[in-house]
């Protein structure tokens, strides 16, 4: 895949900028402001559909970080609190402590969670805060145009690692779910990917499971979602899903890392119909 990477830093020219004709009830429109081929609108759908299916629409509050996905807030039919870059887990902590029967999720990118706010999410997990942190991981600062983050994989080209991330210069990527899963306060940890339909379905199972974990009061949950960023990777839009799966997915391995407090280290989630049978909270 890497040899197909364009030696260009210009965004891809065309592609869909609609979330699709079908939209979840909790989505206020079908047009988004993000680039063609972006994976974040897909990730948003897994969140919104899970909230709706669990019957938690009137009890949910989102705490939003700062990145491209912040623009998705105009589409979200949810009460929201906008956080500073990196600080969403603390805001969700204070709000959840005041309203313990509501569902709280944070929406953060890899720059937000793994760079600026790493200590926030680690401490929230260690405290076992009853919140769900959602990480949209594309391995770049998409909003600034494709710069290296703490999750950028070795060899990955970004605007400030033009020859690829070199460990001797830029260190190694942090695998967030692997890092957070072993902490005592973490009840559920999983990493999904929206590079194909099967990945989207599995990601949604993880999202539901995380929300159910929170509503049972079992502690902290994290769902990391690998998302396409062809603009920030300098690859053609159509090559985004493949690049995500082969380049980022090789390092940030998908699967469930902790469930019901047990470490699983990358197990496949059970089939979605099985998850549905577990019922809404």
């Amino acid at each position: 895949m890497s040899d197909e990477v364009l030696r260009s830093d210009r965004p891809p020219e065309s592609g869909a900028t609609r979330t699709g004709e079908f939209k979840p009830t909790l989505q206020l429109g079908t047009d988004h402001d993000l680039c063609a081929g972006c994976g974040e609108p897909l990730a948003l759908r897994t969140i919104l559909e899970s909230i709706e299916e669990l019957g938690l629409a009137q009890r949910t509050i989102g705490v939003i970080g700062i990145g491209c996905y912040t623009a998705l807030t105009s589409l979200m039919d949810l009460d929201l609190i906008q956080a500073l870059h990196g600080r969403a887990p603390s805001l969700a902590t204070g709000a959840k402590r005041m309203l313990p029967d509501r569902l709280f999720f944070t929406l953060q990118g890899d720059g937000d969670m793994a760079n600026e706010g790493l200590q926030e999410v680690i401490h929230a997990a260690a405290r076992g805060e009853n919140i769900t942190c959602v990480l949209l991981n594309n391995g770049v600062f998409g909003e600034t145009g494709g710069h290296m983050t703490a999750t950028t994989v070795l060899g990955q080209r970004t605007k400030n690692t033009l020859e690829g991330r070199d460990a001797t210069q830029h260190g190694y990527p942090i695998q967030m779910v692997d890092l957070l899963a072993p902490l005592g306060g973490t009840a559920y940890a999983a990493r999904g990917s929206v590079h194909d339909a099967s990945g989207v379905v599995k990601t949604k199972v993880m999202m539901r499971r995380a929300f159910e974990t929170q509503m049972r009061g079992e502690g902290f949950s994290i769902v990391e979602i690998l998302t396409m960023c062809p603009t920030g990777w300098f690859v053609p839009t159509a090559k985004g899903p493949g690049y995500l799966n082969e380049v980022l997915g090789a390092v940030h391995v998908t699967g469930e890392w902790k469930r019901d407090g047990r470490l699983l280290r990358g197990a496949e989630p059970e089939a979605p119909n099985e998850a549905k049978e577990r019922g809404a909270v």
């Binding site: 629409a57 009137q58 979200m76 906008q82 500073l84 603390s90 204070g94 005041m98």
Partner: protein, 359 residues
């Protein structure tokens, strides 16, 4: 209500709880630590929550989340910790969230931080500087009321002496006018309604693409101008025939006020002016109090910060001299040798006689 002998930190925590504060988060630091201890001990019994945050950054983030739900919430630290919170303070102002902050500082070197701030963009918030515990109990309650009235953070700025001095004090509830309902607070109930709320610092509106930052920020500017016009508070005494007007704030003003009263009793024509709000600075009241005086002497425990606001208020009409200065104990907690009634009196006396005071 009966008076009890208690430390400043305990009285402030009790006053906050009496005002309805149900969430506090903090990180230990001298001399703020005891305030955190008292909230940790007292809040759970009131159905509240105190979180021992892992950093000041997280403390203010947690308090931000709590206040966004409509709960009365507070955080605080010492000036050093407030430095870490500056980014959040400036954003809380723009998100129009009524968080109450405490700076139990080391001396008075945080005047600029309190009144100008180190955050980004145009932002303003009230700063209340109590002179003693009785006033701290009142101003703590006022802070929660004003914060919600304006939907804007309020800072209560005290020091080591206020936090650690024990006095007999009553937690008398202060009666305030009713406030508008908190229909801005998020509780999840408007999720799925088609018209949810988004508490944000830049004017984002659910269902609407894009933002209008200029319009949003100009509206905030107008609000802050209205706050400045309405909220100035001060205490002035013996100003009518004064030749010298002494200006001081916070715990230090307790010393200067004592010295001025002694000198006045001995026939000296000296007056005292104490800003209770450092922002908005009571400029018009100070200009009025300084009418006819020969000299204005500013005594603050720092290298000279409030003196800028005094000079701005007086617009060059009166000579303004500094008679305070940096003064600290060996640990750097700001309990310096200058804070002796005799030394303060000597400095005021020198200013009265037209002599220079060495800082």
């Amino acid at each position: 209500m009966s008076r009890r002998f208690m430390q400043g930190s305990e009285a402030i925590a009790e006053a906050a709880i009496a005002a309805g504060c149900r969430f506090f988060a903090g990180y230990p630091m001298t001399p703020f630590t005891e305030l955190l201890e008292h909230f940790a001990a007292k809040l759970p019994a009131e159905g509240g929550v105190c979180v021992n945050a892992e950093s000041e950054l997280e403390a203010i983030g947690m308090a931000w989340g709590a206040v966004a739900t409509g709960a009365r919430a507070a955080t605080g630290s010492t000036g050093q910790g407030l430095s870490l919170m500056q980014e959040s303070i400036s954003e809380l102002v723009r998100a129009e969230l009524p968080l109450v902050l405490f700076n139990l500082a080391r001396g008075q070197g945080d005047y600029y931080q309190a009144t100008r701030g180190g955050g980004h963009g145009d932002y303003r918030h009230l700063v209340l500087a109590p002179v003693d515990l009785t006033e701290a109990v009142q101003l703590t309650q006022l802070a929660f009321d004003r914060a919600e009235c304006w939907r804007n953070p309020v800072l209560v700025y005290g020091d080591y002496l206020l936090a650690h001095t024990a006095e007999a004090v009553a937690i008398e509830p202060v009666a305030f006018d009713p406030l508008p309902s908190k229909d801005w607070a998020v509780d999840g109930s408007r999720s799925g309604s088609g018209s949810p709320r988004n508490l944000n610092p830049i004017g984002m509106v659910p269902g609407k693409k894009g933002i209008e930052p200029e319009r949003f920020w100009k509206r905030l500017q107008a609000k802050h101008e209205a706050m400045a016009a309405a909220e100035a508070r001060w205490e002035a005494e013996s100003t009518d025939d004064a030749e010298l007007l002494v200006v001081a704030f916070g715990s230090v003003a307790r010393f200067t006020r004592f010295a001025v009263r002694e000198l006045r009793a001995e026939g000296a024509r000296v007056g005292h002016f104490r800003p209770v709000t450092l922002w908005p600075f009571p400029s018009e009241a100070l200009a009025e109090a300084a009418r006819g005086v020969k000299r204005v002497a500013v005594l603050e425990q720092n290298a000279g910060q409030m003196i800028d606001d005094v000079r701005l208020a007086l617009e060059g009409r009166v000579k303004v001299v500094a008679i305070g200065g940096i003064s600290s104990d060996d640990a750097g907690f700001g309990v310096g040798p200058m804070l002796e009634p005799e030394r303060i009196r000597a400095r005021v006396g020198a200013a009265l006689a037209g002599r220079e005071v060495q800082p």
